[in-house]
């Protein structure tokens, strides 16, 4: 399908698209997932937990090496995420009929990418605002609108809607503050914290719904290895949560951007369901893109602090929605 469409879009012409098949994109996505996972573990998680480790001799050197490798993974993942975002947005635009909607999507994509470019090179809050608003609208469009048309079930849509709603809640908190700052309005944006807390509840709920929608039907695919992996993660967290190093467990959860307003076990349960779903999808032949989407959303976290995490989330939602042609449930493109 990709080969059949002429590169009409400005953004698309600069891509190495013609040489990439759906299989190629799948491989690139897998590379991105690996890099993002390494980055999260070595940089975000270790540096936070590292605050609580003794910093002497070997530990310091190990810590610094981990931090350096994590930084490489970060830049690598960020580059791949930008490239994949361009490909995803281009293919979305290409599959739409000409008209105001296509123009709007192209406009938003260009706005987001130029906001990103400006945000990376300048300190301008306007650049952040352009990027933030465009990212929010794109995630909303992909998750709420396109998903409607990709033959998705009610469960699919509900899980996706919760993920998108959580992201939009967080973006409301950040962007309302940003706009108040840009327009120099001397007040606290209305309901900003309430919406932020609501978003966290939605994020936790999304894990449960995702399990219901994607995990349960594939539960047999989790397998012993998958169960063991999830159990290990959980046991480590429970043990850490009960031990004198409980702060580490909490910091680990913070890495996903959750501020822990609900009781601790709720988060553990949500994480367990989410990871089980991820495992089930990963090990099912038809679930690669769902698994990839879930992992990207997890790595983006509830409170994405950097532009790169926003891109992970956009990609994650796009893969979960299956609106991108080469991720569709019955991919004609791979034929």
């Amino acid at each position: 399908m990709l080969e059949g469409v002429a590169p009409r879009l400005a953004v698309a012409t600069r891509l190495p698209r013609p040489a990439l098949t759906a299989e190629g994109l799948r491989q690139l996505t897998a590379v991105l997932l690996g890099a993002a996972l390494v980055e999260t573990l070595l940089l975000r998680l270790v540096t936070r937990i590292g605050v609580h480790l003794p910093k002497e001799g070997v530990v310091t050197r190990a810590f610094e090496s981990a931090s350096f490798l994590g930084s490489i993974a970060f830049n690598f993942a960020s580059l791949l995420a930008i490239a994949l975002a361009v490909v995803v947005l281009a293919s979305l635009a290409r599959r739409m009929e000409r008209g105001p909607a296509q123009l709007a999507l192209i406009g938003l994509s260009v706005a987001m990418l130029s906001g990103l470019a400006l945000s990376l090179t300048t300190d301008s809050p306007t650049a952040d605002a352009v990027f933030g608003v465009a990212a929010a609208l794109l995630v909303g469009a992909v998750g709420l609108v396109f998903a409607r048309e990709a033959n998705r079930t009610f469960g699919d849509r509900l899980a996706l809607a919760l993920i998108v709603a959580a992201y939009l809640s967080y973006q409301y908190y950040v962007l309302s503050h940003l706009f108040y700052r840009i327009f120099d309005y001397g007040a606290v944006p209305p309901l900003s914290i309430s919406v932020l807390r609501l978003g966290e509840v939605l994020a936790v709920a999304a894990a449960a719904v995702a399990f219901w929608a994607w995990g349960l039907p594939r539960r047999r695919r989790v397998g012993t290895a998958g169960l063991a992996a999830v159990a290990t993660v959980l046991l480590v967290l429970i043990f850490a949560g009960l031990s004198p190093y409980s702060t580490m467990a909490i910091l680990a959860l913070w890495t996903t951007g959750l501020s822990l307003i609900l009781p601790f076990p709720v988060y553990l349960l949500a994480l367990a369901l989410y990871l089980l779903t991820l495992m089930a999808c990963w090990r099912s032949g038809d679930g690669f893109w769902t698994a990839a989407g879930l992992l990207l959303v997890l790595l983006a976290g509830y409170m994405p602090e950097a532009t790169y995490q926003h891109l992970l989330l956009l990609l994650g939602v796009a893969f979960l929605s299956r609106a991108v042609p080469w991720t569709a449930p019955h991919p004609a493109a791979t034929a």
Binding site: L242, S243, P244, S246, T247
Partner: protein, 410 residues
């Protein structure tokens, strides 16, 4: 969490820090049987260390009447309850196998450190006593145990050993200068330390920020918060006397104030040598002899797991289950040996409060059999740190008859 060996429990246990031991350990034996609760120890401590503003409620040394009394109120009952709740029904000993490294058997229950595992960043199970609990330090003085389960009822009939039905006893308490102190584990500032030369546990008054974690997590409740300086203070084991730097000592290690003022001669305090993490065999050190050879002196609530270093000769008349709860499974043997003392034990018991100078070694000179008894009039001789004789006492107290002409003179 590190694993450390606690000989009082006969096993390894969890502790926040790796095992580390001083060269010598401050230790004492208190003979409960002889105490009359005159509180001279309490007042000598008070007038030495805690007479200033903000210390009004502080009694680093106190003597409380058991079973009801306690300073702070019910400190031990509360601790035992917390432990029981953490490990219901599991706080038991297995004393079927005894040995040098486990003289009381093996404790299978949980220590305050092990029971704190679900307490997050807290390192020991504990609680913070309220202001009210620190008041009335001698509450329930001389209040005896009555009929169990019947209010205001006592046993009025005559009673005799081994177990009195109406009973109380005095418990003398100072900081235990534990081998594995709860306060040191608790302190997030690392402001509490155990001195390498004598094992005395001190709070660094410069580093302390008054968080009161030590007050909360010391099971014996001996660190106390001083509102006037906003930091916590505790019993200092009269360290200038113990290290011999007090001018009064003449450079020789000297017993603490509470020990040296004891009228009832119930206290003996000194330093035991530590080698490879254990009390070095030192048979002629009176403390070593009493606790490790004769085993008449027992730790207070060993199940807390801090390996306290004040040892008690348990009172003979108190119901054994109560004593076993308080001093562990060694109670029966200790009371038997104290009731029918060996020749050597009887001689060593004479050394209590005989000299202000710390006795590092004793020797026995055998004497003749006392007429009409099974006892021998042996002589116990105490030596100071430099092995000079400081005291000499016989089992039979010297008897002096005042001449007629001095009958009424002072």
């Amino acid at each position: 969490m590190a694993q450390v060996y606690n000989w009082q429990l006969g096993r390894e246990m969890d502790y926040r820090f790796e095992e580390a031991h001083p060269e010598r350990q401050f230790a004492a034996v208190f003979n409960i049987n002889r105490c009359i609760a005159c509180q001279t120890c309490t007042m000598s401590c008070k007038s030495t260390w805690t007479f200033s503003r903000g210390q009004e409620f502080m009694w680093w040394n106190n003597v409380e009447t058991k079973p009801y009394g306690g300073y702070p109120h019910h400190w031990d009952v509360k601790l035992l309850q917390l432990l029981e709740e953490a490990n219901p029904g599991g706080q038991a000993w297995n004393s079927s196998q005894l040995g040098d490294r486990q003289p009381y058997g093996v404790y299978n229950g949980k220590t305050i450190f092990e029971a704190a595992a679900d307490k997050g960043n807290e390192h020991a199970l504990g609680y913070l006593p309220s202001d009210e609990e620190w008041t009335a330090p001698n509450i329930y003085e001389d209040t005896a145990m009555g009929a169990v389960g019947v209010p205001n009822e006592s046993h009025l009939e005559a009673t005799q050993l081994p177990e009195h039905k109406t009973w109380f006893f005095y418990l003398q308490r100072i900081c235990n200068h534990c081998t594995y102190p709860g306060c040191i584990a608790a302190c997030p500032r690392n402001a509490i330390y155990k001195r390498p030369e004598d094992g005395i546990v001190l709070i660094d008054q410069q580093r302390c920020r008054g968080y009161r974690k030590c007050v909360e997590q010391c099971p014996y409740k001996k660190p106390m918060y001083r509102p006037t300086t906003r930091v916590s203070e505790k019993c200092v084991a009269c360290y200038p006397r113990v290290e011999g730097s007090d001018p009064l000592t003449g450079g020789l290690p000297m017993e603490t104030r509470c020990v040296s003022t004891c009228i009832g001669k119930i206290r003996l305090q000194g330093l035991v040598r530590v080698e490879d993490g254990e009390w070095a065999e030192d048979r002629n050190n009176p403390l070593y002899f009493l606790t490790r050879v004769e085993r008449v002196a027992l730790p207070l609530y060993p199940q807390f797991g801090t390996e306290p270093n004040i040892y008690y000769i348990p009172p003979r008349w108190v119901p054994r289950p109560y004593l076993r709860q308080m001093f562990g499974p060694g109670v029966d043997e200790a009371i038997d040996r104290y009731t029918n003392p060996s020749r050597e034990l009887l001689a060593v018991l004479q050394l209590f409060r005989a000299s202000q100078t710390i006795i590092f070694r004793y020797a026995i000179e055998e004497g003749e059999k006392l007429e009409g008894t099974e006892l021998f009039n042996d002589t116990a001789i105490g030596f100071d740190k430099n092995d000079n004789e400081v005291v000499r006492l016989s089992v039979r107290e010297p008897f002096y008859e005042r001449p007629q002409q001095f009958q009424n003179s002072i």
